[in-house]
Each structure stands twice: as structure tokens, then as C-alpha cells.
Amino acid sequence: MTTLYPKSTSYFLCTILLATFLSVISTDIVAQTELSAREIVERVDESQRKTTNSAFTRMKLTTCKFGIKNGKIKCVEKARIKLVESAQINTGVDNKDTKSIAILLEPASERGIGMLTYTYEDSERDNETWLYLSALGKVKRISVRNSDDEDTESASLFGTEITTEDQETGKLDDYTYELLEQGEYRGRQVAVIESRPKAHRINKSSYGKTRRWIDLERFIVLKAQMFDKHDNPIKRIEVGKVQKINNIWMGRSLTFMNSVSQRLTNMKLEAISFDMDIDESFLTQRALTDQAFREQFLNNLRQQAQ
């Protein structure tokens, strides 16, 4: 018996996490081979959480069904391409609150859709999100209580193969870690670490376990393999084009391959800049509805990013 009833607003939330997606970046360059599995993961997570203030990104999300030819991965149908620009600043006491905006530039049918999000460190205060659908010309405030987080299921990022769970940071206590192997991989010193959700977490996770190939010098994940609860390898993430930007190591081309749906999404960071001069007045509802106002600010950021 199937039901169509949309069970929660979890999908409204997913784009908020867009700006924090730089989950594989790291500023640490010290090779530490004596660390335990948990310590290595903590180092990676710590680096991820140093989400930089005043960031501007333009990312291209390419999604297609894939096949294999001569050992290489190929799109077997016309790829769907989404182009998204986003900006984020930290505000509030100790810069612990954030304000971010994400605007879709492509495809044409979704051009102008925008999400504006304010998150607050104070757990008593609910985060705020505004959604703008350009075809309707209406802004809607989406109310999600912080306390609802615990039963929010993993959502997809813009309908791609990337899920909110793939980008999750923190919650290290929800998993157990095991160092499986250590040695040279793709010319780097790497530790392969397997994480498994603990009993209280397993129902909310799509994965039974995850293996990460972590570069021990740059503390960046080079590859990840996700398994379902029956030990089937159901998803794989490959990180390419590793570069150091503003003294931060990051992969600029991430490929998420779903082995069940046989679909992949490649996320390419076309532009990324940190420590930008972003005016807080831009991160308001006006940026969603007033196209001229928005373009003016975005042009300014694009120029800075170059």
C-alpha cells in the first residue's frame, strides 16, 4: 500500500545546507599517522566546521544516468544541469549565527528560485528560511522548529544524488569508527576508516556503514563508499581536482554515484572565494524578489571572486 502524503518539510531544509557543503576542505597540513580512527575523523570534522566567513560560491550540478565504457564513466542520457550561486556570512554574538542565500541560475524553468536562511546559535530561537518561486512571484517563510531536526529525514539537494546526510558535520558520537587500513593510495598517505551508526542512529541513516579514504597530510576525504544495512555498496563519492584555495585544501569536482539508481551527480565548484566583502543588507528578502537589486550585488561578488 503506497501513500503519496508528503510527510515533512525536510525537503525545504536541504538547500540551507548548500553553503556548508564544503565538507571535504581542510586547512591542516600535518601528517599524523599515529592518530586513532576517531581522532582522524575528528580532525577532518574540525576542519569542515571551520566554514569560512563571507564565502561566495558558484557551483554546477550535473546529474545523469551513467554507464561504463572502456572502464570510464559516461552519461547515457542528456545530463540535467543546475547552476547555483550562494553567499554566506557569519553574524551575531561571536559570529556564531549565519545568514545565507542561494539562487538558481539554471535551468531556465527554475531560474530565479531562491532560498534565504538565517540560522541561530541560540537553540531557543528557531532558524528561519524564506523560499521564493519566481514563476509565482511569492516569498514564503518556511517554519521549521529546531526541535523537529531529530526526526527530519535525509533530503536530496536540488533533486540530485547528493543528500543532506552526505554533507552532515558533527554528530561524531552517533557513530563508531574503525581504522581498516593505512598506506599509500593514489600517491598520498591515506587511512581507510569505516564508520557505523550506533543503534539509536541507525534508523535515521540511509547507510549501514561508510568507508572514507582520508588523506593524512591534508585531512581531506579522497573517496567515500557508502553501504546499505545489508552490506551492499550503494553509493560512492569521488573527489577530484584537489586544490589549495585561500590556504584551504579542497576538492573542486565531487562525483556522487548511486549504484542502485545508476545515477550520478557531479558537483563542480566553478568559483569559490572566502573572506569576501558581503554586505549584510544583501542577505534579506529583497534579494529574493528584487531582481535588479540581486543582480547588482551578485555582479559585485562575481567580480571579487575573479
Partner: protein, 896 residues
């Protein structure tokens, strides 16, 4: 032909004598082959899945496979509950349902010991509860709200469940106002509620693991250049087709008790009555029914034993036929095991057939043997005579039954072919046992022991054992004596010992001769009525009505049909053949219009339907903040943006409704339960409505395909397929059996004359069902050839015996008396044994088995009447010579 038959006769007469010197070798060979087949039986496996009933590549199965590949599994568990206080929204109801939801959702997450102690679960049950993916109930479902410019999705029932009535009434009003919740989560009168449980059954992919033995640091085959992803299209690349683990329904058997152990806690049962429905509940019920049927089969065996004992008054007559059954079944199962053939539950029917045929074969031999012993013949002579009389008829019945069962192979359905061939093999095994092993065993142990001179008490260990056995037998006899006394007083002994039989058989020829015309008219009348009835029979399989009314699942389905969203589900799969077609307002409008048409035209069956079009309409109204916008927008850009929200939902949930490239989607239709016959008409009509609703889009989307699918449709298709193929195989069986009879009886006239008495028991069940307006379900249809096979066996024995006697004596009168006296006893015995045995099945909860039991035993009994009354009457009127010359056709039995 006559010469062949006579040669065969002579051959069978010599078999016991030829085997006697080699009896030890025969026994050793039998023992060795039994051990060998016993090992084979260890490798035997059963497949319970629906898919196993279809040939690989069957379009219906492929459509469902494609559907599952695209949209996921379409079955789950739905637990309907009735609140004893009459209100599922009362504080007590909501509090308990919240507890139950948490218990089911989290049973596997907490320490297993806690769940085991709290709900009395086993560790295995706790583990299987971990396969629950989601539990939806009134207490954890969210609703979408749009107030002013704010969208929210609060829980329908707050976590702190209010206790004052005003707040509870508000929740009730809010729930009633939702478009999707009423009927799905609660009934309109609020008496019933539901928990929807989604599992991962049937959705587990099979994906080859890479690097299984190698180091994790070694590169695998997929490693490539991920620095610069090239999105250029290359249609020649090979896409791996992911298969899903075939679901073994036995999983449900572990799952259902685990779930019910939780909801069957006293504190839940005080407030609610629970009614689980869905595949898991149905499978559990089917299993219970099988166990019940198993018990009835044991009952059947007990009845058969009792009758064998009372009729033959000999332990060997009880043990040897059962050895035949046991060995034949073991050889079939062992053969399947060694050949690595997976069998279905139909193997139980093979067992039933072997029981019937094995017993019939042995009873014919032993009855004939005893007949000759009573005539004063010695053991060896009587045995040889018995085989001379019964060998050919046993061979004939073996061939006809095998031909009938093997004709199932032409149905084209793999499991039927297996069933037909395994049954044919089982019947052949019973034949080999009867002809080649039974005479050897009868030499050692037979129903009428030869009185031996009192031997001196043997000494040593063997003497001790013998004395011990004798002592035990005496003790047993002492215990049985009082029972025998009671039975004698009640007249049961007279009835069961068949002391009345021979005197009765003696009177039959004269009786038939006096009333031959009346008998023929009566039987022909019955036959005509049966043929008419069979032409009126309605083939209809109802998934629920095969259970008797006191089985709880019938109440559950009635409640769901009457108060909730219906127990049946149909899926209309829409494939537009073009990316993004599902965002085209015209496509969505066609879907929406079709839903309206279906509801209007088939309101009696359809309770509600759901589709992507509903989702777009709902989102449109919410985003516009106005119910007047509950419509499909005209602009495709607007549709695309409304779907933007849905796109970002949990991918699995979106994929359950629309494909990744938006070229495929489906309409899910909730139906009331009805029979396959009603649905066959309904499905035809619906397909016409579907075609006309989408006709306008054909030019724009030339590759468009819209069709019905789903487990429900598959089961209905299976029922339909089965009816057709079964009729075809029955027809083939009838032709094959008739041809064989004509051939062996040596004349067309005699052939036709012997087919008619065979056709009466064969058509009786169908005829009566048609006349009494009882629908013929697929279960009964499956077993029809089996019943027919058993019923016609006795007739063949009778007719072939008559023919042999005619050849031997050249006198119709002597041949008929001979047949009635000799075979009459054996066919009466087998009829009593099998008819009483089969009648046990009519006590089942499963109406399919009840029909088999009732109509099967009736058919077997009518076959006896045909043999003893109708066939002699036909002979007396038409005087067929069966190809013989110089036959004395004086048939006056009433002469002094």
C-alpha cells in the same frame, strides 16, 4: 492390442514368482535407492514467491519488475485498529498509539534485551523489526499548513498529547480538513485508525562488492579521472541493471509474530481491536492455513489407516500402502533435490495425489490377493493371480494419470509444469513400488498369514526379541479390546469390516438388469445437468473470500473496505517516452481528469486515487495560500517550480512517485476487495477509459504507454491465466485419456461407452458448482485434474477388468459378474478410503480446500456408482463386444 494386453497379463502374473528368488537383492536395492533419495531430499528447496508462478520474461512480471525498479516495492503492512471507546482521537487512544508507534519504530534501535523483556520477543524477532523503515500513525504524521506567508509542517498531534476535550476536538477538525489523511489514517466516523508500516522487503539491491579480497588501497575498476567530469552523452555505455533480492515470503512469517507480539500487549488490547492486512498478514494467514491443512492431512491419514485396518484386518495392509506413499514421495522430493529443481507449495498436492494413487494401487492388489485366498488358493498362486488381474489396470491407470498430470506441462507456467511432471513421476514411482517391491514384501508379510505349525520356542537373542514383540502385541490387543467391543455394539464393526459388501455385490447384476433403462436415464440426466452446470460455472478468485467467515482477516478486509481506503491497490503506470513530460500541464491534466472519470464511473470499487497531479494541485494551493488555486497551472515553468520543492524531498520518496527524468509516473488507485471475475470486466473497462483520457497526447508523445500493473493486477492476471491454461490442460487430459481407453479397449464403441462413466465424476464438481452458483476459484481449479485422475482410476480398473474377463470367458454375463465381484470389492474399498480421507479436508478454514474435500469425495463416490450401476447398465443395453468374436451376449441375471 488384445494380444499385447494378454501378454502383459501373463507378464504381470509371473512377476511375483520371478522376483521371489531374488527377494534379498530387491530389498537391498530398494533400501540403497531410498537412502540415496533421502540424501537428495536434504537438498530439496521450496519457493513461495508470486514471481515463481510466472515464466521468466512474462510481460506482466516484467511490467511489475519495471515498476518496482522505478518506484519501489508496492506492498507493506497496514494495521487497522478499532478504538473501544469509539474515538481514535481520545487522549487514551492517542497516547497508546504514540507508544505503539515508538515501540515499532524503535524496537531494533534500543538494547535488544529491553524489547525482548518488554514484549516477549526473541532475538530473531527484534532483529527482523530492524527491517521496518518507517511507521506512520496519527501521532507522528505531519500536515502542511499555510498561514499568511508562512509554510509549516507541524505534527498533527503534538508530542504532549492534550487531555482537554476542546484541544482534542481541534486536532480532530484539523485532521478532517486534510485532503490525504481521512480514510488513510482514520475512518470518517473516527472509530477506526491505522498504522502504516513500510519495510525494506523486496527493495534490497544485489550489488557486486569490489575489492573483496584485495587491499582497500588497491584501485578498483571504476577508478578514473574525476578531476574533470565529462557530461557528454554516450548512449553506447553499458548501464548495469540492478537486480533486487527476491523476497522469500518466509520473512513475513518471522516478521508478523514480532509485530503482533508488540501490539498484543494487554494495555493495547484493552483499548483496541487490531486488524492487520497486507502481504505480511496474508502470508502469515496462508502459513496458518497450511499448518491447519497439514493437521487435516494427518487426520486424513488416520482415517485411511483406520479403514485399511478394518477392511483388511491386517497390519501389513496398513503398513505396506503407506510405505508405497512414503517411498514414492521421497523419490520425487529426492529427485527434485538431486536435479536442483526448486518446487512450489504445489508439491503438497503431488503428495496428495501419490497418497491416493499409492493406496489405490496397493488396495487393488491386496483386495484381489485376499479374494483369491478366500477362494482357497495358496499364497504364491493367489499373488500371481492377483497380479494377473490387477497388473494391466494398474498400468493403464498409471499411464492415464501420468498423461493427465503431464498435460499440465503445456500450461506454459513453470510451476505447473513442475507440478505436473513431479506428480507424473510420483505416480510412476507408486507403480514401480506396487509391481516390483510389493510382491516381495507380501512374501515376507501378507494380510492372510499361512498357518504355520507351532515351532519350538527359538532361543538366544532373536527368541528374546520375538517374545518381547509378542508380549507388546498382546498388551496392545488388551488395550484395543474395549474399543473393539464398543465399536461392535455400535454396529461400526459391521459397517467398517465390509461384511455386507460381497452379499450386496452379488445382488447388483440382477438389480441393474431389472432397472437398466431407469439407471441409464438417471445417469445420463445427471451427466446432462453436470454439463449444463459446468457451462454456467463462474471462475472467480477472491483473495479474501477463500477464507471462511470466522477467520479474522475477512473482518479486517471488510472494515478496510467499508471504513478506510480499501484493501486492494491498482497502479496505472504512465510512460511518456520523453524527459520532463511529467511537468507538462497537459499530461498532468490528463492524469487528473482520468482520476475524476474513474471515481465517477467506478465509485463502487474505487475509494480514492493519488498521483503527481494531486501533489502539484496541493502545492499550488499552498504556495498561493488560497484553496481556489487547487488546480494544475497552465504554465509549465510554474509546474516545474512547484515541483522544485518535491524535487528536493527525500530522493527515495520522490522516486516512488516519478522517475528521475520525469518521463514516468503512476496513478495509485485504492480499491475495495472483489473477485477476479468482477475485476476482469472492470480492468477491461478501465483500460478503455485510460486510452481515451490519454488519446489527445498521442501525437505529441508517440512513444507514450499507459497500462495497469501492481501485485494486485498480477494476482488477478495469474487467476485469469490459470483459468485458461487449466481448461486447456484439462481438455488435453480428457482427449489423451479417452484415446488411451479406446486403444486399450480395442473398439470405438467400447471406448465411448467407457468414457461416459468417466466423464460423470469428472464433470460433477464443475457441474454442481455451476448449478449451485458456487464460484470456481483458482485453488479448486489447480486440483481439478487430481480429483478427476483419482475418480477415473477406479472406473478404468473396472472396465479393463471386465474386458479381460470377457476375453477370457467369452461370456458377457460371466465377465460382468466377475468384474463386479472381484473389482467391485477393491473399488468400494478404495472409494471408502479415499472419499473418507478427502472428506477430512472439508473441515478446513480455507474454502478452496473445503471445496476440494467436499466435491472431491463426492466425485469419488459417484465414480463408484458409475462403475457398479451405470457401466453394467450400458453393457446390458448396448452389449458391446470389445472386438471379440463369438461372445455369448446372454445377460439375463434374473433367471433362476
Amino acid at each position: 492390442m488384445k494380444n499385447i494386453l494378454l501378454a502383459l497379463n501373463r507378464y504381470f502374473a509371473t512377476v511375483p514368482g520371478k522376483l521371489r528368488p531374488h527377494s534379498k537383492i530387491v530389498l537391498i536395492l530398494a533400501l540403497l535407492s531410498t537412502v540415496f533419495m533421502g540424501f537428495g531430499a536434504n537438498r530439496f528447496s521450496l519457493d513461495f514467491s508470486i514471481e515463481s508462478w510466472f515464466e521468466k520474461g512474462d510481460p506482466a512480471l516484467e511490467a511489475l519488475d519495471e515498476f518496482r525498479q522505478q518506484f519501489g516495492s508496492d506492498d507493506g503492512l497496514f494495521i487497522v485498529y478499532e478504538a473501544k471507546d469509539g474515538d481514535v482521537f481520545s487522549n487514551k487512544s492517542l497516547t497508546l498509539i504514540s507508544q505503539l508507534t515508538d515501540a515499532l519504530d524503535n524496537a531494533a534501535e534500543i538494547d535488544p534485551k529491553i524489547s525482548m523483556d518488554k514484549y516477549g520477543l526473541t532475538l530473531e524477532q527484534v532483529e527482523i523489526l530492524g527491517r521496518i523503515k518507517r511507521v506512520q500513525s496519527l501521532t507522528n504524521i505531519r500536515i502542511q499548513q499555510s498561514e499568511g506567508d508562512t509554510l509549516s509542517a507541524p505534527l498533527l498531534v503534538p508530542r504532549d498529547i492534550p487531555s482537554n476535550q476542546q484541544d482534542l476536538n481541534q486536532i480532530k477538525a484539523l485532521a478532517d480538513a486534510q485532503s490525504m489523511l481521512p480514510l488513510f489514517m482514520f475512518s470518517k466516523d473516527h472509530r477506526f485508525g491505522a498504522l502504516s508500516i513500510t519495510t525494506d522487503f523486496g527493495t534490497i539491491p544485489i550489488i557486486a562488492k569490489e575489492n573483496q579480497s584485495d587491499s582497500l588501497l588497491a584501485e578498483d575498476s571504476l577508478a578514473g579521472d574525476f578531476d574533470d567530469f565529462d557530461a557528454a552523452l554516450d548512449e553506447s555505455a553499458i548501464v548495469e541493471k540492478v537486480k533486487f533480492k527476491e523476497l522469500d515470503p518466509s520473512v513475513y512469517l518471522a516478521f508478523m509474530p514480532a509485530v503482533s507480539n508488540i501490539y498484543k500487549q494487554d494495555y493495547f488490547l484493552e483499548q483496541f481491536d487490531f486488524y492487520p492486512i497486507g502481504t505480511a498478514a496474508m502470508t502469515e494467514l496462508a502459513w496458518d492455513t497450511m499448518i491447519h491443512a497439514g493437521l487435516l492431512l494427518i487426520g486424513m491419514v488416520v482415517v485411511i489407516n483406520l479403514l485399511l485396518w478394518t477392511l483388511f484386518k491386517s497390519a501389513s495392509a496398513v503398513v505396506l500402502p503407506q510405505l508405497a506413499i512414503g517411498m514414492s514421495v521421497l523419490f520425487v522430493i529426492g529427485g527434485f533435490g538431486w536435479l536442483n529443481i526448486t518446487s512450489s507449495t504445489l508439491i503438497a498436492l503431488t503428495g496428495m495425489l501419490v497418497v491416493a494413487v499409492g493406496i489405490a494401487d496397493c488396495v487393488h492388489v491386496m483386495s484381489s490377493y485376499m479374494f483369491f485366498r478366500r477362494e482357497g488358493e495358496a499364497h504364491e498362486e493367489a499373488l500371481s493371480h492377483a497380479y494377473a488381474k490387477t497388473g494391466v489396470p494398474i498400468l493403464l491407470t498409471t499411464i492415464t494419470t501420468m498423461a493427465g498430470m503431464a498435460s499440465l506441462a503445456v500450461t506454459g507456467m513453470a510451476q505447473f509444469a513442475n507440478f505436473g511432471l513431479s506428480s507424473a513421476a510420483g505416480v510412476l514411482m507408486a507403480f514401480f513400488y506396487t509391481i516390483y517391491l510389493l510382491p516381495v514384501l507380501l512374501d515376507y508379510w501378507h494380510p492372510m498369514p499361512i498357518a504355520k505349525p507351532q515351532k519350538q520356542q527359538s532361543k538366544g537373542v532373536f527368541g528374546q526379541i520375538r517374545r518381547l514383540i509378542n508380549g507388546a502385541t498382546h498388551l496392545l490387543c488388551l488395550l484395543i479390546k474395549p474399543l473393539q467391543l464398543i465399536a461392535r455394539k455400535l454396529g461400526l464393526v459391521w459397517l467398517l469390516s465390509a461384511e455386507w459388501l460381497q452379499p450386496l455385490l452379488d445382488k447388483i447384476p440382477a438389480f441393474v438388469e431389472r432397472r437398466r433403462h431407469t439407471i441409464v436415464v438417471v445417469f445420463v440426466g445427471i451427466f446432462a445437468a453436470c454439463v449444463y452446470g459446468a457451462s454456467q460455472v463462474k471462475i472467480d478468485s477472491n483473495l479474501v473470500e477463500i477464507f471462511s467467515e470466522d477467520v479474522p482477516i475477512r473482518a479486517a478486509y471488510d472494515i478496510v473496505d467499508e471504513h478506510m481506503m480499501g484493501s486492494g491497490n491498482m497502479l496505472i503506470m504512465i510512460k511518456m517516452g520523453e524527459s520532463d513530460a511529467m511537468m507538462d500541464p497537459e499530461v498532468l491534466s490528463a492524469m487528473s481528469d482520468l482520476q475524476v472519470t474513474l471515481k465517477q464511473n467506478y465509485g463502487d470499487y474505487i475509494i480514492r486515487s493519488n498521483s503527481l497531479a494531486d501533489l502539484v494541485k496541493e502545492t499550488h494551493a499552498i504556495m498561493q495560500g488560497d484553496e481556489r488555486y487547487r488546480s494544475i497551472p497552465d504554465d509549465s515553468v510554474m509546474v516545474s517550480q512547484l515541483l522544485y520543492l518535491f524535487n528536493s524531498a527525500n530522493a527515495e520518496e520522490r522516486r516512488a512517485l516519478v522517475s528521475d527524468d520525469y518521463s514516468k509516473s503512476h496513478i495509485s488507485v485504492q480499491l475495495k476487495n472483489a473477485g477476479s471475475a468482477e475485476y476482469a470486466v472492470f480492468f477491461d473497462d478501465i483500460q478503455r477509459d485510460i486510452d481515451s483520457a490519454f488519446a489527445v497526447l498521442k501525437n505529441r508523445y508517440p512513444e507514450m504507454q499507459v497500462q495497469m500493473t501492481g501485485s494486485f493486477a498480477l494476482i488477478m492476471k495469474m487467476a485469469d491465466d490459470l483459468s485458461h491454461s487449466q481448461f486447456r490442460s484439462l481438455a488435453i487430459a480428457a482427449v489423451v485419456i479417452s484415446a488411451l481407453l479406446m486403444l486399450t479397449l480395442g473398439s470405438l464403441q467400447a471406448g465411448v461407452m467407457s468414457i461416459i462413466p468417466n466423464l460423470i465424476p469428472a464433470t460433477l464438481a464443475f457441474g454442481l458448482m455451476g448449478l449451485l452458483d458456487i464460484p470456481l476459484d483458482t485453488d479448486t481449479l489447480i486440483i481439478a485434474p487430481l480429483i478427476i485422475g483419482i475418480a477415473v482410476d477406479d472406473t478404468i480398473h473396472f472396465i479393463s477388468h471386465y474386458r479381460m474377463a470377457l476375453v477370457a470367458t467369452n461370456s458377457m454375463k460371466t465377465a460382468l459378474i466377475d468384474a463386479i465381484k472381484e473389482v467391485g470389492q477393491a473399488v468400494t474399498f478404495t472409494t471408502l478410503i479415499l472419499a473418507c480421507g478427502f472428506f477430512m479436508l472439508s473441515f478446513s478454514d480455507h474454502l478452496g480446500l473445503v471445496k476440494i474435500g467436499t466435491f472431491g469425495s463426492l466425485a469419488i463416490f459417484v465414480a463408484l456408482l458409475c462403475d457398479l450401476l451405470f457401466f453394467p447398465a450400458l453393457i446390458m443395453i448396448f452389449k458391446p463386444r470389445f472386438g471379440e468374436k463369438n461372445v455369448d451376449d446372454n445377460l439375463n441375471f434374473n433367471e433362476a
